[in-house]
């Protein structure tokens, strides 16, 4: 995200805003002025109306909240190791974090976006991007677990991702940092004209959800910031904001702010599909990892793929057009009808809205204002749909309520502004605490918003909660948007820095949520689905313990004959078939995390015994009244000992 450098300007502006907004701030006491408490209070035992999936930013995770209560339901590890669930620590999920850079246990998650059917959010999957080591993940909403991660080659700074088309035909991923493609050793100062960017189209299997890197479009080396696939009438197109059209390679806060306008790139992906069909692509070498978690074997596999199909936007006419947009736009947002494309120009005084109809007309009648790398630049006035005058400072992101209204966050002036599509008049403004990035309305980026709530995600919370040292949390603030004026209902701290959220009515997901894994469907190669098969096997210095867990014992719970220098695999199968009876497993000195094994599931942890002795292991998840008793011992003998390999329970 860009920092705002014009310090002096900002100070002057802020001072003006603070004075200007003083009255308004005092009038809108937020929650105190109404029965807000009742509207966010969800009785114990009652369910929330909406699920909210908030990206965890630099925590690399996806946080699931209930709305309107703001109760945290689950943290789904995606690009980060999670010792709570053993994700990225156990043998089964380590391959999920494999890349061509090796095992990468962290990423910076930004934009969760949900699968759609006919332009409506459908509750099947949430896709989310890893910004740092470019990756796209798919989280399965029956298990709330990461089911797939695909690395994006020819990309760097995978920020303008992972946005979903109307029927989940594609998940689209852009490039924030242009790079040499293919990568090579060259001087940084030769960036201009030599560095390039990629727009990746990942097709999605409608049954399994599995992604495939179908093709990439090669674009000039600008910074591509945010993406919004067309909706309804503009379905088949995708719009992307750009900055640094100056192609600066140093001191971007100044050098990438020189042009009066950057662009919104309009990409015709239906045309791209035609070009692919006609064979107008080049197959290029490009290594990337594709990692899939198999729910039957409870294991992930990582495959390295080697090539990608590339369409060059500079060579293929009709594929890409540039719409001039003031200035360094961040969010790129398409309204539910597909007609309006909002460019949130961070450094612009006004909000610029392009018209899709006018864009088509400008293309047809060649109303061009030059070209960039052979890509036509459309004439600004000929594509402009309207302007929201002086709405606030630092607009970042806009969503829609489906009733003709748009809502935009303003980072610098710290507010949400409601305005009307078509008339461009400002209807309401409410402060946020403080400095929001994105906002989210359930379905507010699709054809069908459920325009009841708005969640603003704030970067700064300094004086909002009890202090917790220098590091304080980010926050989400919930507004009721059913009335003419927005009402602040509540705010709650969040995990990591939420950059965006996808919200949907709970009924789209809750009935499909899985409760257990069936033992008779467990195809894990090291599963022990019956106590009759409990055993310990030695293969050289590798020892495999096939252990079961059920309330309230581990079988076996006495193991002897393991030696210093062995590599011990504990394969734990939870024999429970009842909802909400996971068991955990930990052994002294393990260099990884606990295991948390769901009913019917098998998980494996590796342990290197280093010290002679008798060492305990135990269940880590309070499972029953006799949870404390759920434990055992493993005897570790010297490397040269002859202790016989034995195992037992209750003998």
């Amino acid at each position: 995200m860009k920092t705002y450098s014009y310090l002096t300007m900002t100070f002057i502006v802020l001072a003006t805003v603070i004075t200007g907004c003083k009255d308004q701030g005092e009038n809108s006491n937020g929650a105190l002025t109404s029965n807000a408490a009742e509207r966010v209070y969800v009785e114990p035992g009652k369910f929330d109306e909406f699920y909210a999936f908030l990206s965890g930013g630099f925590s690399g995770q996806l946080a699931v909240y209930g709305i309107p209560s703001g109760r945290l339901l689950k943290v789904v590890p995606v690009f980060s190791q999670d010792p709570e669930k053993a994700y990225g620590y156990n043998e089964e999920t380590k391959p999920m974090l494999n890349t061509t850079h090796g095992f990468i246990p962290w990423d910076d998650t930004h934009h969760p976006d949900m699968s759609q059917t006919k332009g409506v959010l459908d509750g099947r999957w949430v896709f989310m991007n890893g910004n740092n080591t470019p990756r796209i993940a798919r989280v399965d909403l029956t298990t709330f677990e990461t089911a797939e991660i695909i690395e994006i080659p020819n990309s760097a700074g995978n920020h303008s991702s992972s946005f979903v088309t109307e029927n989940t035909e594609y998940v689209i991923a852009g490039t924030r940092f242009a790079v040499p493609i293919p990568q090579k050793d060259m001087p940084i100062k030769d960036y201009k004209g030599n560095f390039k960017a990629s727009l990746s189209f990942l097709s999605v299997d409608q049954e399994s959800g599995e992604m495939d890197l179908s093709f990439q479009i090669r674009l000039p080396g600008f910074a591509y910031d945010l993406v919004h696939p067309g909706r309804d009438k503009s379905h088949g197109w995708v719009f992307i904001t750009t900055y640094n059209t100056e192609e600066a390679h140093t001191l971007l806060e100044v050098n990438a702010s020189q042009n009066d306008k950057d662009f919104i790139a309009a990409v015709n992906w239906k045309k791209a599909e035609e070009y692919i069909k006609q064979g107008k692509f080049k197959t290029e070498k490009a290594e990337y990892a594709h990692n899939i978690y198999d729910e039957d074997t409870h294991m992930a596999t990582s495959t390295i793929k080697n090539e990608v199909r590339v369409l060059d936007a500079s060579e293929l006419p009709g594929l890409v057009y540039f719409l001039p947009t003031p200035k360094s736009p961040h969010g790129c947002d398409v309204d539910p009808t597909g007609e309006y494309i909002v460019g949130n120009g961070k450094l612009s005084a006004d909000l610029t809205v392009h018209s899709f109809t006018k864009m088509l007309d400008a293309i047809e009648n060649k109303k061009f204002d030059g070209e960039a790398y052979n890509i036509p630049i459309l004439n600004f006035e000929d594509v402009l749909g309207g302007t929201v005058k002086q709405p606030g400072l630092g607009p970042l992101h806009t969503e829609f309520d489906g009733k003709g209204n748009a809502y935009t966050t303003f980072f610098i002036s710290s507010e949400v502004v409601k305005w009307k599509l078509g008339t461009w008049e400002i209807l309401d403004r409410k402060p946020t605490y403080y400095s929001p990035g994105h906002l989210s309305i359930p379905g507010g980026n699709s054809r069908k918003p459920w325009g009841k709530y708005l969640l603003a995600m704030n970067k700064i919370t300094k004086d909002r909660y009890l202090p917790t040292g220098p590091e304080v949390s980010q926050s989400a603030q919930l507004y009721d948007i059913t009335g003419e004026k927005m009402e602040l209902l509540s705010d709650f701290p969040t995990i990591g820095e939420p950059h965006y959220a996808s919200m949907v009515p709970a009924e789209l997901i809750q009935s499909k949520s899985k409760k257990i894994y069936r033992l008779d469907e467990n195809k894990h190669p090291y599963a022990t689905t019956s106590d009759a098969n409990v055993k310990v096997e030695r293969e050289g210095n590798e020892v495999h313990v096939y252990m079961t867990m059920i309330r309230s014992h581990l079988n076996p719970d006495n193991i002897e004959g393991v030696k210093v220098g062995d590599k011990v695999y504990f394969h734990l199968t939870n024999l429970e078939q009842d909802y909400d009876v996971p068991h955990g497993f930990a052994v002294i000195g393990a260099e990884n995390s606990e295991l948390l094994v769901m009913p019917g599931e098998t998980e494996t942890t590796v342990w290197y015994p280093k010290k002679v002795g008798v060492w305990p292991f135990y269940c880590t998840d309070f499972c029953s009244a006799l949870h404390q008793e759920m434990s055992g011992y493993i005897r570790v003998s010297p490397a040269d000992s002859n202790t016989e390999l034995t195992w037992s329970l209750g003998d």
Binding site: S530, D531, T548, R551, Q577
Partner: protein, 168 residues
């Protein structure tokens, strides 16, 4: 509290060792805990005749749950029993060894003491049984408070397991 009890126990054993001399040292562990079973037994048996719940015969008790009547054939249905063994080996054996007391009671000879309905309700509806059926409540006490797990068997599966029990 657990820790407290443990430290008391440790102290106690230290005292024993200190006072006991050589003979005491040879003993493994210590015997104070035995007293627990003898003091607790009369308490729980007060409800009945003193027979442990696992040995009581209650053939009229159908238990609490979906099963109100079960027809047992004159002959054992071996195919059904085989199916039941398969289910039992996957879902039950972790806590119930066929012919010896383990975490829970052994199913061998169960139909001499329980009605088939009670057995199936215990399999299908354990959470309610240990709260509402007096016999199941007593069994929970007898078996160290380890509650029967609901393994999500279907009625057909539970019926097959019952048939398997007849073969034991």
């Amino acid at each position: 509290m657990n820790l407290k009890m443990k430290s008391v126990a440790v102290l106690f054993s230290l005292m024993l060792m200190a006072c006991g001399g050589k003979e005491e040292k040879k003993k493994e562990g210590f015997s104070v805990e035995r007293a627990k079973t003898t003091t607790e037994k009369p308490q729980e048996a007060a409800a009945d005749t003193g027979t442990p719940a696992s040995e009581r015969v209650e053939l009229e008790n159908k238990g609490v749950g979906p099963i109100t009547s079960v027809e047992l054939g004159a002959e054992i249905d071996q195919a059904l029993a085989d199916k039941g063994k398969e289910v039992y080996d996957q879902m039950c054996v972790a806590c119930h060894r066929p012919d010896k007391k383990f975490i829970g009671p052994a199913p061998k000879g169960i139909l001499e003491r329980r009605s088939p309905e009670w057995v199936m309700n215990m399999i299908l509806n354990p959470e309610v049984m240990i709260k509402e059926d007096p016999l199941a409540k007593d069994l929970l006490q007898e078996f160290n408070g380890a509650p029967m797990a609901n393994q999500g068997l279907t009625e057909e599966q539970a019926r097959s397991v019952l048939e398997y029990f007849r073969t034991l």
